[in-house]
């Protein structure tokens, strides 16, 4: 036990928040999307490396430009987008656990990509209070995480009790995800697609083309680029003039919303309901990739999969995120 153990944030960068996995699912009916780590593969791998439960809270760092000081001895691991990372000036390898002595200073430079977010897992986890069963930050609702907001310089985050400090370990090469500037993201068509909302040609375009990721993207949603769909209907009828309009309905996590002519991939802090069609939905096992889409320069293609393929991808993900993927560093 390390009573009062903390990490102090020195520089939060563009945005750093406390996130866990899987956030707080089960509150759609009250207007809460689940929040939680956008790239949960990276956070879970980090937790695995430092000996935490994979659900433990860590720090989600967007783009980099981050620094913090450990005020206690801890084991830490950083997983996600590559960036020059040092501990007291000494280079730190990503996807590996190592000891961070009390007083040491961690610095993460701006990530050149590919990828957009990295996750800091610390033994014991970030021990902010749980709210509705989760420590995840949801800035729109001003709740969870540290005071319901993104981190600022001077914030001191409590750490939970850590287990045995293990030997440094590495998440092996084959288990690591591949980051790229051209992403392929698995999705299933619908709920509002062919034949009643979009045409076959629309769906061929949707799954056929490469979409540019727009700069106005964040945890609420990743905007793609405008596209003229043909639509199977002339208008949205009572729901509005545009054929992408429907009477407001709930959205699934991973929804790719056709907002007028603009597809938006809803993120973990996104709106739970709205009046636009959802042409396709990213399958759970591929959702982590959305957290690594870089707002300027990245492209994404959606690959259509069946529910059976989605289940197989889920199994594969779980296999990757197991002790078997760890090796001594």
């Amino acid at each position: 036990m390390r009573g009062g153990a903390t990490i102090e944030i020195l520089k939060p960068g563009v945005q750093a928040t406390v996130q866990d996995y899987p956030g707080r699912p089960g509150m759609l009916r009250q207007g809460f999307f689940p929040s939680g780590a956008m790239d949960f593969l990276a956070l879970r791998a980090g937790n695995l490396l430092v000996g935490n439960p994979q659900s433990a809270a860590g720090l989600e760092v967007t783009l980099g430009g981050f620094s913090a000081r450990f005020e206690t001895d801890a084991t830490m691991a950083i997983c996600g987008a590559p960036a020059e990372t040092t501990l007291d000036g000494e280079p730190v390898a990503l996807w590996e656990s190592r000891r961070a002595p009390a007083g040491s200073e961690l610095t993460i430079a701006i990530s050149p990509g590919p990828g957009f977010r990295c996750y800091i897992a610390v033994s014991g986890g970030i021990d902010v209070p749980q709210l509705f069963g989760s420590r995840a930050t949801y800035t729109m609702g001003g709740l969870g995480g540290f005071e319901g907001r993104a981190l600022r310089a001077g914030d001191r985050l409590p750490l939970g009790p850590a287990g045995e400090n293990g030997q440094p370990r590495r998440f092996n090469e084959t288990a690591r995800p591949h980051y790229d500037r051209e992403w392929e993201v698995e999705a299933m068509r619908g709920p509002q697609a062919t034949p009643d909302f979009l045409t076959d040609a629309d769906m061929q375009q949707f799954f056929g083309r490469s979409w540019k990721v727009d700069r106005n993207s964040d945890r609420t949603g990743v905007r793609l680029e405008s596209h003229r769909f043909e639509y199977a209907r002339d208008t949205g009828g009572v729901a509005g003039g545009h054929p992408s309009n429907i009477l407001d309905n709930p959205y699934p996590v991973g929804a790719i919303n056709i907002n007028g002519d603009l597809p938006v991939l809803l993120g973990p802090d996104g709106p739970t309901a709205g009046g636009f069609i959802v042409a396709a939905t990213v399958v759970h096992a591929a959702l982590w990739k959305v957290g690594q889409l870089r707002p300027v320069g990245d492209h994404v293609r959606f690959r259509e999969v069946t529910i059976e393929e989605a289940a197989a991808a889920e199994q594969e993900l779980e296999t990757r995120l197991s002790e078997n993927s760890l090796e001594p560093a």
Binding site: R29, G31, G190, T194, G240, D248, V253, G275, I307, A310
Partner: protein
């Protein structure tokens, strides 16, 4: 393995006072269930709420949560425990077990909230929008959205629109978008008001602002972006810190099936009530009062002609009004 050409899993026709049902795959962990056709028919929402209540009484293993929409419900499930076809079968059995729509009983409360029309926060939201997002939006002419609502619906003047807002109870169909935001629909069809949404959307809206989008009213629970036409301000409807006792049990004021009525006050009065609400001196006016679907259907029938005439007038006006 090739993917299905359509996400539609199954459909059933209307039967025994129940609407048609369409089941749509919504990713690998949800099914979206739609009732009836895409029309503004409150009875569809009554049915949704009845299904939702039945589902909480008769859950299935692997069924994780349900979230109502206006005429739909999203059901999240664990496909490794509950196969999609089993989920659909469970839901369709549940539908069969429900009474016909006119016999549905929905627990409901009447909640009276103060409203200040044309308040300064909504004005400044519109001004900000004109300054920083779009100068020439027809819905923001005169630096407010109210004149646009008046014009789009063929009202003679603002007071006529305000009367429509005050004259009817508003049915909370579901909660969503942001935590605690109620999607509300006028119960008396003679007082339906419609407005297109912002294009593009606004980046700032005050907490407590009241807006209209399509045929639906919303009270903004938090300071946020938004797309509805703003016309007034009411009280907090979401407070995690529970500064008022009404939020002590739950941070959300409203729930599906609640009926909201508005009482007109000046902005000065509203602001002082707001302060009182925050300081726990104001008591929200809430009354338990079950909703009688049969009586609603009678009213709807009785005012059908009048509502239809009003609809025609509204649609004529809309046809002559530019859309944002």
């Amino acid at each position: 393995m090739s993917a299905a050409a359509s996400p539609i899993l199954d459909r059933s026709d209307p039967v025994g006072g129940h609407p048609a049902v369409t089941y749509r795959q919504a990713g690998d962990r949800s099914v979206l269930v739609e009732y009836g056709e895409m029309e503004l028919d409150l009875t569809l929402n009554f049915f949704v709420l009845a299904v939702d209540a039945a589902l909480s009484r008769q859950p299935a293993d692997g069924l994780l949560e349900s979230a109502p929409g206006f005429r739909s419900m999203l059901v999240r499930y664990d496909p490794s425990v509950l196969a999609t076809h089993e989920l659909v079968a469970h839901l369709s059995q549940l539908h069969e077990s429900l009474p016909a729509e006119q016999e549905i009983e929905i627990p409901s409360r009447v909640i009276e909230l103060p409203i200040a029309f044309d308040d300064s926060k909504s004005q400044s939201a519109v001004e900000r929008y004109i300054r920083s997002i779009r100068k020439d939006a027809p819905n923001c002419e005169g630096a407010n959205n109210i004149d646009y609502i008046v014009r789009y619906n063929g009202f003679a003047e603002r007071e006529e629109f305000y009367d429509a807002v005050l004259a009817t109870e508003h049915w909370t169909g579901f909660i969503g978008f942001f935590p605690g935001l109620p999607f509300m629909f006028p119960i008396d069809p003679r007082h339906t008001v419609v407005a297109p949404k912002y294009n593009p959307t606004r980046t700032w809206t005050a907490e407590g602002a009241v807006g209209l989008g399509g045929p639906c009213y919303a009270i903004y629970p938090v300071e946020s972006a938004g797309g509805y036409q703003l016309f007034g301000r009411s009280l907090p409807v979401y407070d995690l810190q529970a500064r008022n006792e009404v939020f002590r049990e739950h941070p959300l004021l409203l729930r599906p099936g609640d009926r909201v009525t508005f009482e007109r006050v000046s902005e000065e009065e509203l602001l002082s009530t707001w302060e009182d609400a925050r300081a726990d001196r104001y008591r929200y006016r809430i009354e338990e009062q079950p909703f009688d679907v049969g009586a609603y259907l009678e009213l709807r029938e009785k005012v059908r002609d009048e509502a239809e005439k009003w609809r025609q007038r509204r649609e004529e006006a809309a046809a002559n009004t530019p859309v944002p």
